[in-house]
Amino acid sequence: MAWLNTIVQGVLLGGLYALFATGLSLVFGVMRVVNLAHGVLTLLAAYLALVIVDLTDVNPFLALLVVIPVMFGLGYVAQRLLINLTLAGGVLPPLLVTFGIAVIIENTLLEVFSADSQGLNAGRIETVSITITDRLAIGWFPLGLFVAAVVVLGGLQLFVDRTRFGRALRATSDDREAAQLMAINDRHIYAVAMGIALAVAGIAGVFTGVRTTFGPLDGAILLIFAFEAVIIGGLGSLWGTLIGGIILGVAQSIGAQLSPGWFQLAGHLVFLAVLVIRPTGLFPREGVAA
């Protein structure tokens, strides 16, 4: 029963990883850019919520009302002013510029908030749980987190599949020049895609801030978790990303159960195993290569 509990907690944690990964996957899918600042930006959202909570004393989840639009705006502006400028020159410029952004934000957080760990307190929801048997209990917060992840991913999938904007997004992703000829403003599309990516990262950041404590240097590991979920699940598929996140979460939970030090290592090893056995991930979209 302890193992069942471990697996259930791992699955629920996987929802959070899918949220980390969605923005990374979306940006890569649309503009073939790997945003190396993705983890740090997720963390930035948690700090943003922290500031809002400190100033207004509201529940962190209410802070999302501010965090989501701010992150969207940040993504839109960063894309238009900075990242769009790097897209013409091959693989290196976007990687190096986003890496530069990551270093700047990380050290700014360090400077402003010091290296101390912080946490977001969401109140009673963090501790209450549904008891199923005496050995298996599901917390309301992890469950809500998982449901929120599924809703966000489902909503995004619908948005991409069914709306006019989503069609423009897919068109730009498939063939930028052809989309431009159809009067699609690719720079605007890219900026909105980055905005959406960071908005989702904002949700993930606030949730992770409530779930655990966080420090200015945690951006790297958030990026790595997001990346592992994307690669395990397979590129270009949102539901694949969810499954990738779940596999990663379960692997980490089982690792932690075996030995406290194996939490991260177990996740990395599963990722490497997938890389060896199926480098395209478990559920790739047709025609997308890493």
């Binding site: 400028l85 290196l92 530069g100 270093v103 790595i224 030090g261 290569a289």
Partner: protein
């Protein structure tokens, strides 16, 4: 009179700088007789940083491989040095060589994994592998566990140790330049630049793309391992978090991007700039890194060939004769039948 052209590799300038470089290296080698301990420590840090920057440039600037996991080999080198010296009781200076060998050996399986990924995902993949090495090595109680370990140098005269460390570091720093120079002039270097500029075209011209990239990756990683060995021969105290810190690679990226990607002189300039700024701005701590990050972004956007690229654009001064150059001359071509290539 009709103008003729000659195709040449070395120029007067590059021959002169070659001569000056040899004299310069001889002077540096005499460093322990010339400078005090503080200067020597500073110089030896400069040399190993230079080697790291050269190797990252070989990867990114010539092979188009962005790795943010080169700290893996610094860590492997450091732990190899420690294991060889403390666990096996070997000579600590020989340990630097062992560090290089360890990095060389581990670079192959690592390459087999990370080369399944491309571009940005390759970058994060190398980082994950570095984390795996950190987690595995820091869980070994014999290697100090999570709190780290100290390389034992009891019985070695500190001044003697400093001198030898200085010379090893000098050899790695200068050696890295010579190595990149000869790699680029070799068949491997030609294939490498072909792959970077257009992979498909290189492949159809008979370049084995994957093997070329793996060879470069192994070379760069081995030198990073050697550098890791000499770094911890100087520092002695190794902690998993600092030894495997991504900040090593952050330095490499900034030095190469600011100095100039894809040239040999660029990383030298970048390391000098980094070093000079560090002397003045190190007290600022994280503000220093914020400034460096901003400078790197501006350079990447406004001058993608770096500071050295700006110099090259204005005055064509190739220090290192790698590419073939066309120069106009007023000289007549040799008369026919004078023993040109293809005759006899």
């Amino acid at each position: 009179m009709r103008e003729d052209v000659v195709i040449e590799r070395s120029t007067r300038m590059s021959r002169l700088t070659g001569l000056a470089a040899i004299v310069g290296v001889l002077v540096l080698a005499a460093g322990p007789m010339l400078w005090n301990d503080g200067v020597l420590r500073m110089m030896l840090e400069f040399f190993y940083l230079l080697a790291l920057a050269q190797m990252w440039n070989l990867l990114a600037g010539y092979a188009g491989l962005v790795s943010i996991g080169q700290q893996a080999y610094i860590g492997i080198g450091a732990y190899a040095l420690f294991a060889f010296t403390n666990v096996l009781g070997g000579n600590v200076f020989l340990g630097v060589l062992v560090a290089g060998v360890a990095a060389f050996v581990l670079a192959f399986p690592t390459a087999a994994l990370v080369f399944r990924l491309r571009g940005g995902y390759f970058a994060i993949g190398t980082w994950v592998v570095a984390e795996v090495y950190r987690l595995v090595l820091s869980s070994q109680a014999k290697l100090g566990g999570g709190s780290g370990a100290t390389v034992t140098v009891i019985g070695i005269d500190p001044t003697f140790r400093l001198f030898v460390t200085y010379w090893i570091s000098l050899a790695i720093g200068v050696g890295s330049i010579v190595l990149v120079f000869y790699v680029l002039r070799s068949r491997l270097g030609l294939g490498l630049r072909a792959v970077r500029d257009r992979e498909g075209a290189a492949a159809t011209s008979g370049v084995n793309v994957r093997r070329t990239k793996v060879q470069v990756y192994v070379i760069a990683s081995t030198v990073c391992g050697l550098a890791g060995g000499v770094i911890y021969l100087a520092l002695l105290r190794l902690q998993p978090a600092a030894t495997f810190s991504v900040n090593w690679t952050v330095f490499m990226i900034f030095a190469v991007v600011i100095g100039g990607l894809g040239t040999i002189t660029g990383p030298i300039v970048g390391t000098l700039v980094y070093f000079a700024l560090q002397q003045y701005l190190a007290d600022l701590g994280s503000v220093y890194l914020i400034i460096l990050g901003a400078v790197a972004i501006v350079v990447m956007l406004k001058a993608p060939n770096g500071l050295w690229g700006l110099v090259i654009d204005r005055w064509s001064v190739p220090f290192f004769p790698i590419q073939l150059r066309v120069r106009r001359t007023a000289r007549r071509p040799p008369p026919e039948g004078s023993g040109l290539v293809g005759e006899g």
